[in-house]
């Protein structure tokens, strides 16, 4: 794949055609609306809406599918911020601070910052995709199972900073998250594991159900006991961010672009991982880290930027090699193939006009999503003004629908209910929830890459320290863990009785 100004301009010419522009807009609109629905992530949104695209020309269809993907990424943060239902794992860090902002009457600024950060990161990462794809795709090829394991291990070390003052409870949450993900079938051998003879457990415990239960249902139970009338605590409501708000988030937007884009290049590196990494990075560099988890706008800007940057980064291996880096892109790849298009080096040689039209349409789709979402901020923010006796049951209903929509199993809904109770008790006993979520998201990739690495190395763990990239990540992980413990020992107080960060 090589860059050409002529082809890019030609691509814009095609993407800015009235018909393609119209279908990009429809894709952004539908993708955003579907992305708002909890449990229906970008991959489900594309899969559900692909039949609509069959009536279109291949270029228009692919433009629309890409726009749906983008729109779903934009929409996913809405319920996380307004009602604490992170519809997918990548929205969990957004919910940590976004919902706190909503309780402070600042849902509007949070939603707007999420949209602006998504736009900035999406645009910058598209520039990376346009100009640097050949070099970056070679970088992605350097990653094998040992590098993935080391990266996931580094991600797991974030548990320490996500736990805040409650380190031991955070570690307990991480162990529980890892245990939850072990239930079901061994991903390598397929044998049943920790199912205790229950057939439903063979399908495993889906982490989206866990997230919906912990965050949404747990929060509803927590609020119901208090006879809450409104979720926001202050009388004054802010509908839009100030210039100062946007200015303070600039750094977060740029840093999260970098994190999201480069991690998004790696096949299998889910947006959930990049959003946690970006959130943690922002917390570490912030002058006010104590604000994170209590309503820091940077805590919304960082994960949302990383989310969208990961989306663009994922297109690099998809276009360069035909290699989808995640479920949503796998569905997009299916869409490409439906129209007789095989992404890879040959596609650029044989149909460059098509590829550059799609890339150009992504720039346009990014702008459209921002234009669509900013005016909708007021509408979504008004959800927080709905009295809780009405909002609470509605949250429960849409959580149930979201949990069911994952795999169309009532088992997932019952799982969400159980974890709703767990989430309620975790709040009561001051256990942070983010470590459990992070661990359950990372677990499967951690285990798979560990198994594969040990096969390569014939059982030797030294493979993680003899390959340069893997060794680098492992060193960073251990340094992060040591630093975290040192900070706890030096500055921490008995944490069993301290407020957690949730």
């Amino acid at each position: 794949m090589s860059f050409s100004w002529d082809l890019l301009i030609q691509g814009f010419g095609s993407a800015l055609g009235p018909a393609n522009l119209f279908w990009a807009f429809i894709g952004c609109l539908i993708g955003t609306l579907v992305g708002v629905l909890p449990g229906i992530g970008p991959s489900s949104a594309i899969a559900i809406l692909v039949p609509i695209t069959t009536a279109l020309s291949p270029t228009a269809a692919i433009i629309m599918m890409a726009a749906i993907y983008y729109g779903a990424m934009y929409g996913g943060s809405t319920t996380a911020i307004v009602v604490n239902i992170p519809g997918e794992a990548s929205s969990v860090p957004t919910a940590l601070d976004g919902y706190e902002l909503a309780k402070q009457g600042r849902a509007g600024p949070a939603l707007a910052i999420a949209a602006i950060s998504s736009f900035v990161a999406g645009t910058l990462s598209l520039i990376g995709l346009t100009f640097f794809a050949p070099v970056l795709s070679d970088f992605a090829l350097l990653f094998g199972p040992p590098e993935y394991f080391a990266l996931m291990f580094l991600g797991l070390s974030l548990v320490i900073s996500l736990s805040g003052q409650a380190l031991l409870k955070g570690m307990i949450g991480a162990f529980l998250g890892l245990l939850i993900s072990l239930v079901g079938q061994n991903p390598v051998t397929g044998a049943a594991r920790l199912t205790f003879g229950v057939p439903d457990l063979m399908a495993g415990i889906n982490f989206i159900s866990v997230i919906i239960g912990l965050f949404a249902l747990g929060e509803v139970f927590f609020n119901v006991e208090k006879k809450m009338t409104l979720i926001f605590e202050k009388k004054k409501i802010d509908w839009m961010p100030t210039i100062a708000d946007i200015r303070r988030c600039w750094g977060a937007m740029f840093r999260s672009t970098f994190v999201g884009f480069f991690m998004g290049l790696l096949p299998g590196c889910a947006p959930a991982v990049t959003t946690f990494v970006a959130y943690d990075l922002e917390r570490r560099v912030s002058k006010h880290p104590e604000e994170f988890g209590k309503g820091a706008l940077e805590g919304v800007a960082a994960p949302e930027g990383a989310n969208n940057a990961t989306c663009s980064g994922g297109f690099v291996p998809l276009f360069a090699f035909g290699l989808p880096t995640g479920p949503a892109l796998a569905v997009l790849l299916g869409g490409f193939m439906m129209y007789g298009l095989q992404p890879g080096p040959l596609l650029f040689k044989q149909q460059p006009e098509f590829v550059w039209a799609v890339i150009a349409s992504m720039y346009i789709g990014n702008v459209m999503c921002l234009i669509l979402n900013l005016p909708l901020v007021g509408m979504w923010a008004r959800i927080a003004v709905i009295p809780f006796p009405i909002l609470g049951p509605l949250i429960i209903i849409f959580s149930v629908i979201g949990a069911y929509s994952i795999r169309f199993l009532m088992f997932d809904v019952w799982t969400a209910l159980v974890f709703g109770v767990v989430g309620y008790l975790m709040r009561k006993f001051r256990f942070p929830m983010a470590p459990m979520v992070l661990a359950s998201v990372l677990a499967q990739m951690l285990e798979t890459s560990l198994s594969q690495s040990l096969v390569i190395s014939r059982g030797s763990l030294s493979i993680f320290f003899t390959r340069p990239i893997a060794a680098g990540f492992m060193v960073l992980a251990f340094l992060s863990i040591i630093r975290g413990f040192w900070v706890q020992i030096k500055y921490g107080r008995p944490e069993a009785l301290e407020e957690s960060d949730d």
């Binding site: 579907v34 229906i40 559900i48 031991l168 409870k169 570690m171 307990i172 162990f175 529980l176 890892l178 245990l179 072990l182 061994n186 390598v188 051998t189 044998a191 594991r193 920790l194 205790f196 249902l217 509803v220 139970f221 119901v224 006991e225 208090k226 006879k227 009295p387 809780f388 006796p389 009405i390 609470g392 049951p393 509605l394 429960i396 209903i397 149930v400 629908i401 069911y404 929509s405 169309f408 009532m410 809904v413 019952w414 209910l417 709703g420 109770v421 009561k428 006993f429 001051r430 285990e447 560990l450 198994s451 040990l454 096969v455 014939r458 059982g459 008995p494 069993a496 009785l497």
Partner: protein, 153 residues
Amino acid sequence: MTTQRSADIVTGLFLAVIGVIVVIAAFDLKSAFGERLPPRTLPVSMGLGTVITGILLSVRAYFYKGDELLVDWPDRAGWVRLVVTFLSLVGYLILIEFLSVAVASLVFSVFLIYYLDRKLVRALCVGVFTALLIEVVFVRMLQLSFPPGFWVR
């Protein structure tokens, strides 16, 4: 468990028991293909981790001598609201299988909104709107495969 200290002691012990159960269950997992990572390795490791951290939590809370922090349990009325909400949610999940998601959502939302809000007209309006929204958007437009009502089977 009215204090955080007692809650931590009990929670830690409970988690330790969970960990022990996991370790015992994991020892039943047999290697079949000479895997480099035996199937029981990760469950045993995570189980042991849970046991150790659970015991640490209990022990540290037991020896804690500082100010007591109370667990913010609800009052009697709060407990009643909580239990009613939980049981109505359980009922909702059971009803979905028989009445379809739209009708079950109507019944659930009307009941719980009226219970929490005490305004019947408002509960009915919201319930009907929600049921229609679910039926039109989720079932018909997105064609998500929810359980149909008993009248369809």
